[in-house]
Structures are given as C-alpha cells and as structure tokens.
Amino acid sequence: MSGPVALHTPTTPVAGAALASDPVLRVNDIQAHFRTQHFGVSREVRAVDGVTFDVRRNEIYGLAGESSSGKTTLIKTIAGAIKPPLQVVGGSVQFSFMPGYPGLHAAPAAEVERVRWRHLSYVMQGSMNVLNPMRRVISTFQDFAWRHLGGSRKQFEERVVAHLARVRLDPAVLRAYPHELSGGMRQRVTIALATICKPDFIIADEPTTALDVIVQKDVLGMIRSIQQEMGSSVLFVTHDMGVHAHLTDRLGIMYGGRLVEEAPTPEIFSRPLHPYTVYLIGSLPRIGDDTPRKSLEGSPPNLADPPTGCRFHPRCPLAMEVCARQVPPMVESLPGHRVACHAVNPGAAA
C-alpha cells in the first residue's frame, strides 16, 4: 500500500488499479501480428491489437476468451516466444524483474537467459507432452533449474525432492520416464518444475484443459497454494469460465485480439458490463435454472480483415452508429473495473 498521497492522477486510467501494489507485469498497448507473404500477396492477421493490462504482485490474473480471441498469441508475446510469421508491431511488455527492456522479444540473449525459469516460468497447454519422453524426470529438472539454483548434483536433487513433496509426489518419480507417470502426476511434475526456482511470474496456459474434473480440482488447488506460499504472480489463461471463477483474483476478457473488460473476478460474474461479457456469463449453466441459454448470433471476427471500430459491433445488440467508426477506449467505469464499450461509457471517445 503506497498511501493516499498519490491517489488519482486522472490522466492515466490504469493508475488507480496499479496503485494497489506495484505491478510485476505491465503490458502496454501491445500489438502482435502474423505477417505472411506468399507469391507476392501479403497478409496480416492482427491477432493481438493493442492490449493493456497489469498483473500485480501475488495475484492470479485470469485471461478468458473464445478460440481465436488472441489469448494464446498474447501469451506467446508476453513469454517472448516470437517466431516468424508472428511479429511484435508495437507496444511493450515490461517485467519488474527485467527493468529497461520492452519485453523478452527485445532483450539481449544473456538477459533472456537470466530471466527464463528463474523469474518467469510456464505451465503449458498440453502438459502431457511437455516432458521429453527420452529423459528421466530428474534430467529435465537439471536442464531447467540447475543453472539457477546451483549446488552439487546431490544438493540439487535433495532440493528437488523437498519441493516435490509440496505437490505430493514421491521422490521415485525422479527416476521415472514421463510415459511411466499418469496424466495427473505429469501435470504435478510440471507444476513442481515451474515453481522450483520460486519465480516472480508464472504463465499458465490452459494447464487443466486435458485433465478430468477430479484431477483438475486437485491441480488448481495446488497452483493456488504454491502461489500463495511463494508470493508469485500468475497469469492464468483458459476459456473455461468455471476455472476462472474458482481460481483467479482478477479477470480480463478478450475478444477479437483486444481486451474488452477487466475487473475483479467476482465482479465480472455478478456485474458484467460489456455486452460480450454479458453473453459469456449468461451462457454459463446454473443449478436449478433451466431456461434455455441464448447463443450469440454470428461468429468471431476474421482478424485478417477485422470489423472497423469496435470489433464486437456486428454482433452487438447495443450497437450504435459510433461503434462502427471508433475504437472504444478502455475506461475505468467503476473502481477497478475497466470496460471498452461506447454504450457503457458514452462520450468517452474523444
């Protein structure tokens, strides 16, 4: 808490949110596009088009959105996994532990190597296949973490064993090959791997999608407890709103490569403001409520040729004339609750 002195500098809408505690990650107007050129025809897919948000210390920030909303590309950009045809066109991704560089994609190799796994780690989508099938689990731990933790081989192994106990894994798994472990065990191994260096920031990309519900609950609880114990920040990405409700502190909703709404998770569920979010929340089943769910007309925008103005306007029930013309700015409509919508924030567009 930085005290009441610096409260409300009205020029930056983010400032209020950022004051609560210093952000570990500050994403500022990031734009990442896929640029391809085949036989002289160039094509640009604006997968991430101007996203701004902060992730604070010791919080789990959720990112939700349907397929092709750009959330995976956003994650890749933040993680610095930029490979052609993906290009960062503008904006920055600033980490508190890597001052002075506008993102991993723009940092020198030595800096990237210093940061990776020590400060920034991942639990990946499809964690079933993220462990090298030809290497014993202990070797994978050595490959990822030894250079940061140091110590002799024996000291390092003792440390890994102690850490495995936190995710309730037997030390015997270290001698096993990945195919000898069950899906849940493998996922726990990857969580232990991602947390052993006590990183400041963990990116979790759909880590529970391939698991059955029982294991899912177990894994989510584990992520939560380790995160609280270590004080790491987590960026948690999934399309599963149930998981978000269960786990995340704040939630950002993506649509068509942009962030359309962001608020504390309970508030998003109780008081969604953006029309897209309203539909998203409205589509969730509730016990005892058997009215048919309304589905949204139309389909997600083609990001190679996105709609002008607000990307949601062709499907939006509240669409106005201005929506097709102007991109709605992200405005803090309620304290800690930002929305990008002309209908919610009339007159916000300058």
């Binding site: 996994a81 990776r116 993220v130």
Partner: protein, 334 residues
C-alpha cells in the same frame, strides 16, 4: 529380467529361423542355375587337346564327389547342411582347390574395412548435417545444403563413381584408380602398405559417402523438423534450456531412433559387398568375388557369400532389437 530372457529366447529362435529359410532359398536358387560347375571345369581342362573319354568320365566322378554334387538331391542337401554347420563351404569350383572360406576370408577384410568406415562416416555426417538443417531451418547455408543433397540424391551411383574416376584418375591424376593396394607391396602391417591401402580407398569411400549422405541428410532433416514442433522442445526453449542441450538431448536424440535402425540394416548389408563400387574401382572385396562366382557357376562360393550376408543382416537386426530398449526407454520388452 525373466521377461527379458524370454524375449531374448524368442528373438534368437526367430533369428535362427530367418537364417535357415534364407539359406534354403539361396540353396534352391543357386542349384536352379543351368550352369553345371562340373561340366564347366571339365571343358576348361579338356579344351587343350585330346583326353580319353574314360578319363573324362573318371574326372567327372571325382569332381562330383569333391564338389559335393554327387548322389541324389537329398544326399546333396544334407551334405550341404552338415558342411554349413561346420562353417565349411567346401572347395571353390572356379578356384579349385582353394576352400570357399579361404576365398571369403581373403576378400572380407577389404569389404568390411571399406564399408564399415564409409557407412559410419556417411551416417554420422548425414545425420549431423540433416539434424542441424532441420533445427536451423532459416539458415541459408543449410537451405543450400538441402538443395545440393536433393540434387545429388537421384544421380545413379555409377555416374558419380565414374565421374570421380575421370576427375581424380585422368584429368587430375592424383589417386590410384583401381585395386586395393599397390601391386608391388607385400601385405602386412607396414606403414607403406597401410598408406597404400588408405590411398586406394579414398575414391571408393568418397563415392559411397557422396551418394549416401544425401538420403541420411534428407531423412534426418524431415525427422527433426517434426520434432522441433513438439511441445517438449518448445517448452525447453521457453524454459531457457541451453541451446546445445536442446539440440542434442531434445531434438537429435529423439529423432535418431529410425536412423539407428537404418544404420544397423546397412551395417548388416555390408557383407553383401558393394558390388558396383568394387567392380568400378577394381576393389578386391566380397562383391567382386560374388559376381565372378555367379559367372563361373561356382555355387559353393555364391552360397558361401550369401550365407554370410544373410547372417550379417539378421544379426544386425537382432542386435538392434536387443539394444533398442537401452536406446529408447519407451520400448518395452516382455
């Protein structure tokens, strides 16, 4: 462990069966040739002047006995197997009375020396370059290498071999064009002889390597370009794992499986000799021996060479099957 022993026993039984069937097929095929080695030898002897018909008949009888071709087909067949089991292929018919095993024993070191070295070099070079080319897909020099490999690959082997002969034997005559060593040197572990052998092996080895590298290169490149998109490779890159470690232990190691099987097959095939190579470069190996034996109808020798080659290929496959669990932890025996 008892599971492994059961597997071993089963696999060994399979090996024996494959060799038995293979040798039988070779036996039938060689005995079905219209060339009769006895008549071949007799005509060679009798072509100079007159020989009494009784003497010819006598010679025919003793030759049949020596060659093991007398008696009914059943007797011949059992004679053949009892000899094989004692590793005795009988005397050669075209180089009578030298035993077949002595002929093969003389030719085998040449072939094995040349082919083991060139096969290993080809394999290592092709896989290393192919692996790098698959990993650094955007590198210009590896792209160029791919184009060269793709262009060299379909050229028939004998064209490359003859080109090498023309370039290094006539246009710029720096290397010997035929033989396994200089004729005037006594064979033995002398420096002069070893040097001569090495010098004579450069062209045949180079021709084999040039033609062989391309297919390993292309195979490994496509294997690796599949592996690099695997989750565990991307994950390791995001994890900041050392690049060299990723290339070695994550990419190459995991792509190598099919290539190791291929290596075992081609090492087993060495005992065939490289027939065209040995013919073109006049190399005194098993391939030359085999071709000459076929021309002479010397089926003792043909059978000897084929049996050794059947044993070689089957043993190579057997070795790979037994060693594979060590190489890939996912392969289970039981």
């Amino acid at each position: 462990m008892s599971g492994y022993l059961a597997y071993l026993a089963k696999r060994l039984g399979q090996f024996v069966l494959v060799v038995f069937i293979g040798v039988n097929i070779a036996y039938v095929v060689t005995h079905a040739t219209p060339i009769d080695p006895v008549e071949q030898s007799i005509s060679a002897v009798t072509s100079f002047g007159n020989t009494a018909p009784e003497a010819i008949e006598q010679m025919r009888q003793s030759l049949k006995e020596l060659y093991g071709v007398g008696g009914s087909w059943r007797e011949q067949y059992f004679t053949f197997w009892s000899r094989i089991l004692r590793a005795d292929f009988g005397p050669s018919m075209s180089a009578f009375p030298t035993p077949v095993s002595a002929l093969i024993g003389r030719a085998l070191p040449w072939t094995v020396g040349l082919l083991v070295v060139s096969t290993l070099v080809t394999w290592a070079l092709g896989n290393l370059l192919g692996g790098l080319a698959g990993y650094y897909q955007r590198s210009r020099s590896f792209k160029l290498m791919g184009v060269v490999a793709m262009g060299l690959h379909p050229i028939p082997y004998y064209i490359v071999a003859l080109m090498l002969l023309i370039v290094f034997g006539f246009l710029w005559p720096v290397l010997p064009i035929t033989g396994g060593s200089a004729m005037n040197l006594p064979q033995g572990w002398t420096l002069a002889f070893i040097g001569s052998v090495l010098k004579h092996s450069i062209l045949p080895a180079l021709s084999l390597i040039l033609i062989g590298v391309g297919s390993w290169f292309l195979g490994m490149r496509s294997l690796v370009s599949n592996i690099v998109t695997e989750d565990y490779v991307q994950f390791a890159e995001l994890g900041g794992v050392n690049r060299r470690r990723i290339l070695g232990s994550y990419v190459m190691r995991n792509a190598l499986g099919p290539q190791v099987t291929g290596l075992a097959m081609s090492l087993g095939g060495i005992f065939n000799g490289a027939i065209i190579t040995e013919k073109v470069f006049g190399y005194p190996g098993v391939g030359t021996l085999l071709v000459d034996a076929v021309y002479a109808g010397d089926y003792g020798l043909v059978l000897g060479v084929t049996t050794i080659s059947i044993l070689g290929v089957s043993a190579g496959v057997l070795a790979i099957d037994l060693l594979y669990p060590l190489f890939d932890p996912r392969v289970q025996v039981a």
